[in-house]
């Protein structure tokens, strides 16, 4: 296991290197934050002062070399928008995003696992049709649409939840549902098909032939086997989670990484864009690693082989 982790971590190095290059190339060409920082009225000289003071006039190679050197020191440059170090700006936002993503994941699990299991066990019934239909619908429905609707209905009309912002548990509910739904939609389908697969396995028949009650067959015998493919694909769902978070955070004014990123892109605040993309990439990689480790816990076949 230790070997495995070390191997995976070593593989990271070239990956991270590729990421820095791609990100840098993009950012280098991404245009000029200066005009966005000054009003429409600013003259060319005004812009030139600003550009010089930001060190944006160096050639490509110099800038890239500086970039990589700086990154190894944890320095992603200074946010042109906030005039602060980019990395701390990004890191400060992580708790908010973790909170939202975690809650959304819980919502997604809470919705998708029972529904997926239920519809698998009632295959081709109306329940199944309804749940599968619902999950496709959830997948087909744009995220922000749901968010705005939830605000209109539950926050504005019924005033059951705060409209936006972060703070109490109540603030978390609507964004978590919004983001959770889009993940749940895909996951329900997944749990269902994985469950169907498992229910068709011989050992499920064995369990039934032993006289194990059906509910226990599903929960004790089938569920954990169902979970293994679900976990694999759930990590692939991360990108849905991230893109969903970007949009959900904007709708609910949730001060997380997604919102920072959107605003940084709009303001051409490239240091922040670089840092966020980099941090997100590392997080995705780490989560993949953690998933692999979860296999060790959940699937004895891996551990012993």
């Amino acid at each position: 296991m230790k070997k495995f982790i070390i191997k995976r971590l070593l593989e990271l190095i070239p990956v991270l290197f590729i990421i820095t290059f791609v990100v840098f190339v993009l950012v280098y060409h991404a245009g000029d934050p200066v005009s966005l920082m000054l009003p429409e009225d600013a003259s060319q000289e005004d812009r030139e002062y600003m550009r010089e003071s930001l060190g944006l006039n160096d050639p490509f190679i110099v800038q890239y070399a500086n970039f990589v050197m700086d990154i190894t020191r944890g320095n992603f440059g200074t946010s042109t928008r906030y005039d602060m170090d980019a990395l701390p700006l990004v890191i400060e936002r992580l708790p908010a995003t973790f909170e939202l993503a975690g809650a959304a994941m819980l919502v997604a699990l809470a919705i998708s696992i029972p529904l997926g299991i239920w519809s698998a066990n009632r295959r081709n019934s109306y329940v199944d049709l309804f749940i599968t239909g619902g999950s496709v619908l959830g997948k087909a429905m744009p995220n922000f649409w749901l968010g705005i609707m939830l605000i209109l209905l539950l926050a504005v009309n019924y005033q059951a939840f705060p409209v936006s912002g972060r703070g109490t548990f109540m603030h978390l509910v609507l964004p978590a549902i919004t983001l959770g739904t889009s993940v749940a939609a895909e996951m329900t389908r997944l749990v269902r098909s994985s469950m169907l697969d498992t229910l068709g396995q011989d050992y499920i028949r064995t369990a039934s032939s032993k006289g194990v009650p059906y509910v226990k067959v599903v929960v004790y015998h089938a569920f954990r086997n169902t979970l293994i493919p679900v976990i694999t694909i759930t990590t692939l769902q991360l990108s849905i989670l991230v893109s969903g978070a970007i949009i959900t955070e904007s709708v609910f004014q949730w001060p997380g990484l997604g919102m920072l990123l959107v605003q940084a892109v709009n303001a051409r605040d490239m240091a922040v864009v670089q840092a966020s993309v980099f941090i997100i990439a590392i997080l995705v990689i780490l989560i993949n690693l953690i998933t692999d480790l979860i296999y060790f816990i959940i699937d004895p076949r891996i551990k012993h082989s």
Binding site: G31, S35, D41, P95, Q159, S164, G165, G167, Q253
Partner: protein, 518 residues
Amino acid sequence: MKQRWEWLTFIAVLVFFLAACSGESGEVGTDNGTENGSVSDGNLVIAQSADITTLDPQDSLSTNGERIFRNMYNRLFARNQDMEIVPEIVESYENVDDETWHFNLIEGITFHNGEELTAEDVKFSLERVMTDQGLKEYPYFTQLVEVNVLDTYTVEIVTDGPMPTLQHVLAKSGADILPKDYVEEVGMDGFVENPIGSGPYQFVSWDVDSEVVLEKFEDYYGEPGIWDMVTVRAISESSTRVGELLTGGVQLITDVTPNEWDRVNDNEGTSLVQGETTRVMLLMNRLTEGFATSDERVREAIDLAIDQQAIVDSVLRGSGVPVRSRVPEGVFGTDPDLYDTYVHDKERAKELLAEAGYEDGLEITLTAPRGRYPLDGEVAELIAVMLGEVGIEVNLELLESGTFIDVYSENENEELIMIGLADGLLDASYSLVHYTIDRAAGQTDYNNPDVDQLFQDASRNLDEESRLQQFKEIQQVVAEERPHTFLYQDKVNYGVSDSIQFEPRLDEALYFDHIQPN
């Protein structure tokens, strides 16, 4: 077997717990789920469409920042509700000669850390903004040459020549007085983390992209503040902002788009308040050789083809006034003849095009932003159609704000570019500089030596009356020669809770103490 399950449960619980913890510790006072309109606890919550980008008032240059800074810092001069320049921390002042001014400060003003505001602080602050090229406000302070301390409460300012706009500049954003000793002690980085001013409200916290919290400064030298705590939230999503207002989460929101007006007005306990802005939406014409718009007849045809009133009445629902000048009402130098008026004559437009040799039609490109100004994209689409009706086929290039401003500042646009220009100085010199030969070069390429001369004269003219005439004259010429085709002066729409009284200002600033609880 059991152990594995316990492990998984443990991890799940841990993740959730961490998430919950970070939620509790990360924030200060976001819990503003107060009942609709209750402000009795002395708390005011305002939501604007974007956050401030810095707490350094000299490096901000934004309306959003101004709304905070006006309550935290003091300047030598300020503008009252009617945009007249009045002394703020100046007791008296004297124009010693054309280039030299003396200002006597009010005594006994203290910063939030208890230190007294003196001439040293004024010198420090103004020198910073007039010498540090990295500051966004720097370009507006280049005419100041020297700031001298005459005694503890007297400052001398020397300008590079007769400067009719000195008081405008001293009342402008960026002229804020910072505490010299404090800044020197903690450095500028330390200052922006925990800024100190001398205004009626002092800094409590800033959560980037979320909210700024200020509280009443008890030792304020003037009338003490009327709010105990003021929170200014940043909510970019328009419907969310309105939602917060409707549910009483905030008492005042800015930038309500026309489609939301009914929601705000129909709701019990909230209403819409409309205010003027200095921003004029206009089309910049390229007069550069080779572009069709270099022909004055084409420019006139474009202006005649556009029905400014229809645009304002339809899409904008009246949230604007058609104008024929860049200097809007309320700004020094405005020409009332060019306000609330427009020219529209499709037949004449067609004739002009035919005269110019385009009877078979003309194809031009219009570059316009989308999402930078209220309903900008929609307005551009309308203009494209209106021009189409007189035979000008428009190739509409709508760009996201960031891309748009790149094209604009690099002058990469073709015949027409639509943009909104505001007047930060509330003085026509700020607006009309665009028609000078130097500034127009590369952009409109407008070149009229008479206009240039008039502008140079006005900018050194200390006589208000003749200066006003010079400005009017420039505007008349520009309205006929059309380097810019003017559309309308934008309005700003606030959503206001009935629990407060609010009067909008032309400069779009907010003075918390002018917002009264009902």
